[in-house]
Amino acid sequence: MNGRLASEIVSLSLEHLTLVAITLGIAMAAAIPGAVLLARRAAARRWVLGFANIAQTIPSLALFGFLLPLPWIGGIGKRTAVIALCLYALLPILRNTLTGILGVDAGVRESAVAMGMTRRQILWQVELPLAVPSIVAGLRIATVTTIGTATIAAFIGAGGLGVFIVRGIAMMDKPQILAGAVPAAAMALLADEALEWIERKLSPA
């Protein structure tokens, strides 16, 4: 029994991690280029950040519920879960990338232009490298949030550590709930520590 629980914890943890990794991969792939485009468009920036802010305020259980009946993106399973989780992960990465790019010192940017760097060179050699600590900070927030929120995704059949929690609630079995909650919490703490370390390494002293 104990052995079976342990192996189930491991396999569901891996499933959980996969869910989180896919979500963060997609969110980063969308949010970082998105932020680069928005950095030069103040009007569009307001709209997109407003939308992302609203998405952030929808309770996650409700969002999963809303998405379920939708054709194509909805339905039971991992895909719906990943879409919902991405919506939550987008905002912190987007906002922090923007903060990082827009926070580049005006004199530094002016020098870059005046030295004859092209826009692409300024983006790749100046803006993005200087934004990296801020981007990692956003990624850290997104990671911790996603690890936590992903437990709720078990309600729509996405698997992961939430499976223990759903089952534990249904059976009023506290150890089951803990078998899901404790590894999820540990995972979040570890990820937080690791990304904080990276963030510190990348920030200018």
């Binding site: 002016e110 005046a114 760097m117 060179q121 200018p204």
Partner: protein, 256 residues
């Protein structure tokens, strides 16, 4: 006067956000001379400087550089032929001193060993021991050292023109004087043409071949420093009065 103008500004006007910042300015900068743009805050001197390298776009008139209208230049190529130094240096904080100084040569695809050799000689030229400073980051430099790196960076690809926007304004008086003297020495040895923006009349008289005084976006007068000391426009007198005031505070007799 040799007729070879590096920069020629022709009837330049500039309106920014509904405000006329520059009115009908015409000005030639001959090879080898330093023209100082002197004026109060808001007189348009920085805007005029930025119109030369295309950081601001004039609403009327044009700038010629090396015998061609700026509009015919690729803006990137144009800027790489003009060194640019600003008040707080604008060094790239994530790059070492060597990487900062070597920027334009790298953009111009110089081979790495040639870039490295150029960086060495420039650091020497601005009074920074290469061995000690090459690998430092801007945050590990004092204000005066940053400005020296900024000047070295501007000189790196040996551009025919230097644009300097109050390069020494944020420094303490002693460091400022040191850098002013070093810049004069450097200019004599490399014979650079320069446009130099300042609001400090003393600095203007020290650095200039000619002083161009700006007032409310218009060119008030353009004179050699000697002539400027005897200038009679109200704005010139206002600047000269501030000079006298400085000397009085220093308890030295006015020299004018």
């Amino acid at each position: 006067m040799s007729a070879h103008a590096i920069v020629e500004i022709r009837h330049l006007s500039c309106v920014l956000g509904g405000r006329t910042v520059l009115r009908d300015i015409s000005l030639r900068v001959e090879e080898g001379e330093t023209v100082v743009l002197l004026g109060r805050s808001g007189s348009g001197k920085t805007t005029l400087l930025k119109a030369v390298n295309g950081l601001t776009t004039p609403s009327a008139g044009e700038v010629w550089f090396e015998g061609r209208p700026a509009a015919q230049w690729d803006p990137i190529q144009l800027r790489r032929r003009m060194g640019y130094v600003i008040q707080d240096a604008g060094l790239f904080p994530h790059w070492t001193v060597a990487a900062n100084v070597g920027l334009v040569p790298r953009l111009e695809n110089w081979p790495p060993d040639r870039v490295a050799a150029r960086v060495e000689s420039l650091l020497e030229a601005v009074g920074l021991a290469p061995g000690e400073f090459r690998e430092r980051y801007p945050r590990q430099l004092s204000g005066g050292q940053k400005q020296r790196v900024g000047i070295a960076r501007a000189l790196a690809a040996d551009p025919p023109l230097l644009l300097l926007d109050e390069p020494f304004a944020a420094l303490d008086p002693i460091t400022r004087f040191e850098l002013q003297r070093q810049f004069l020495h450097l200019r004599r040895t490399v014979r650079k043409t320069a446009l130099f923006v300042t609001h400090d009349v003393r600095e203007a008289l020290m650095m200039a071949s000619r002083v161009a005084l700006l007032r409310d976006g218009a060119l008030d007068l353009i004179l050699t420093p000697e002539e400027f000391l005897a200038a009679s426009t109200a704005e010139a007198k206002a600047f000269l009065a501030s000079l006298e005031e400085n000397w009085r505070q220093d308890e030295r007799p006015p020299r004018i």
